[in-house]
């Protein structure tokens, strides 16, 4: 599986934008370009592996310092350029997500990767709160700090319905070790406890996904697949423009009302007690 990390991201970036190379001045690990979606331009962003990266711990598709600040750079530029435009004309942002994790490196910790990741999440959230529709397309893996840095601040998240999709807080081997289980036990548990699952259909039960998309082979997008996905992205953009600019849509779905009952009850209780405190 590991040799495929990032390939899907690159394949979909190319299918949707016609481009496949980093922008001038960017590291080899970030693809960023403006391309048409429907009848408007959008900013497309993707993090990809680069075996030649000068940071050894991002070479397999992890998100590190350069990646985070490069994403933030492009996002801030678009926010600034569109500041005076009405909401309907603010460019959409499409994050294509296929990231193994955050970078697990000493260089990264020393130079404050926590802060780099925060700056990128800030830029994504700021774009959303300014009225840019921010849409994430999970094309492969979306792990932990990698997803928090690149994609999780979107107001609509779409994912392929495919066994190669993994959205999770930690990869199986590490999660098994820390929770003192075997990988087989962990997989079994996921079927009973949806938030623990590595299966995207269980993830869909959490109410965080806007839509599951079906394509034959996510590694090799056909023209028909690309057109279909483009339509789904346009639909998500329109839906985002109609909705709130916060993440409240995550809690309004029927799936969330079931799976996130406890969290929803906590919010209601806190609001009730807040007034009298």
């Amino acid at each position: 599986m590991s040799e495929h990390i990032g390939l899907r991201g690159r394949a979909w970036f190319q299918a949707l934008t016609g481009k496949n190379q980093p922008a001038s001045g960017d590291p080899g690990t970030v693809l960023a370009t403006e391309a048409q979606i429907g009848d408007e331009p959008a900013l497309f962003l993707c993090v990809v592996p680069d075996p030649a990266s000068r940071f050894p711990c991002v070479r397999d598709g992890q998100v590190g310092l350069e990646e985070a600040f490069t994403l933030a750079h492009h996002l801030r530029r678009v926010i600034t350029e569109d500041r005076e435009k009405p909401k309907a004309q603010k460019r959409p942002v499409i994050a294509i997500v296929d990231v193994k994790s955050q970078a697990y490196g000493r260089r990264e910790e020393t130079a404050g990767i926590f802060f780099a990741a925060a700056a990128s999440a800030d830029a994504y959230a700021s774009a959303r709160m300014a009225g840019h529709p921010v849409i994430s397309l999970v094309a492969g893996q979306a792990f932990s700090g990698g997803f928090l840095t690149h994609g999780y601040q979107a107001n609509r998240i779409l994912s392929f319905d495919d066994s190669g999709i993994v959205i999770h807080a930690m990869h199986k081997e590490a999660a098994a070790r820390i929770t003192r289980r075997s990988v087989a036990e962990l997989e079994e548990l996921g079927h009973e406890i949806a938030p623990m699952s590595y299966d995207v259909r269980d993830y869909a039960k959490l109410g965080l996904l806007y839509k599951l998309l079906h394509v034959d082979d996510p590694l090799h997008p056909t023209t028909a697949d690309t057109e279909a996905v483009r339509h789904d992205l346009i639909d998500a953009i329109q839906d985002a423009r109609r909705g709130a600019t916060d993440l409240s849509s995550w809690l309004r779905s029927d799936a969330a009302k079931q799976t996130r009952r406890a969290g929803i009850a906590v919010r209601a209780a806190l609001e009730a007690q807040w007034q009298n405190a």
Partner: protein, 290 residues
């Protein structure tokens, strides 16, 4: 020094680190002004832990206290490092997000309400994995929604430290306050050693850990704003100062070009010397009271 100060100061001072999360949060408020919300008697606990044979806690390891600090409305949200490593689950995450959102609502209505996050946490609770990760994304979003209206102050006192996704919440805060005993980073030393090998990070090297993640380093390199002693009165005064401070036109996590250039200037052919980096990055352009 006065005549009586031959009794060392640390004998009479009240330690903050020795307090649990609840008492830490209480200690920040003006006397008689605070109230805990959705406390242990409300029994809102994790629905996921018992199903995995783990005892839940009636407050899910998260304490929300509302009251006044320096006469101004404020809410403190403390993660209790002694319960499940201070990890973020569905319930503790919802408490944090809801408190931040209510502070935003009051602030937008003209009643500026600051938030103080007391973070002692290893990050996402793996027994609630994806709901914990989503909760972190929501907390980050809610911090950013409040930040233009009222100060959001992260206080990391120790000794658990602040790691994982919640380190991003610290990163987007208006101000970060740390003690020398506190640590702040995305990945803890054990995780790095496990994922990238002992050559990358020797997690038994205590000096290295403090040199990289410690409060003195984070404040020294400009990624945190104030280094405080483990003294409850001094910490209370520092937090009060930030609660009362004017809002800033720009926050550190918006200074993308400055930090992008700094990363571009790093020599990555070998490991980065923390002390050298501190000297190069030490600046007065970022957050904090000056």
């Amino acid at each position: 020094m006065s005549q009586t100060s031959f009794i060392p100061e640390f004998v009479s001072r009240k330690s903050f680190i020795e307090l649990d999360g609840r008492r830490r949060a209480q200690s920040l408020f003006d006397e008689g002004t605070w109230k805990e919300l959705v406390g242990p008697f409300d029994r809102m606990e994790s629905p996921w832990l018992p199903r995995q044979g783990i005892a839940p806690q009636f407050d899910d390891g998260c304490v929300v206290i509302k009251g006044k600090i320096g006469g101004m409305p404020a809410v403190a949200i403390a993660l209790e490092g002694a319960f499940q490593g201070g990890s973020i689950g569905e319930v503790s995450g919802a408490k944090m997000t809801a408190a931040l959102d209510l502070a935003t609502k009051d602030s937008e209505a003209g009643k500026r309400t600051a938030a103080i996050l007391l973070l002692e946490t290893g990050g996402v609770r793996l027994q609630e994995a994806n709901l914990g990760l989503a909760a972190v994304a929501e907390v980050i979003s809610s911090v950013l929604a409040l930040r233009p209206h009222a100060p959001v102050i992260t206080l990391i006192a120790g000794t658990v430290g602040c790691f994982g996704g919640m380190a991003l919440a610290a990163g987007v805060s208006s101000y970060v306050v740390m003690t020398r005993e506190a640590r702040l980073g995305l990945n803890g030393p054990e995780v790095i050693e496990q994922e990238s090998g002992i050559d990358e990070f020797d997690s038994s090297d205590r000096a290295l850990i403090w040199a990289i993640h410690g409060g003195e380093q984070r404040v020294g390199m400009g990624l945190a704003d104030a280094l405080v002693e483990d003294d409850a009165e001094k910490i209370k005064a520092t937090i009060r100062g930030y609660v009362q401070a004017d809002l800033r036109p720009e926050y550190r996590s918006q200074q993308v070009e400055l930090y992008r250039d700094r990363i571009a200037a790093l020599d990555t052919s070998e490991q980065i010397d923390p002390l050298n980096l501190r000297q190069r990055w030490n600046n007065k352009t970022t957050g904090g009271l000056r």
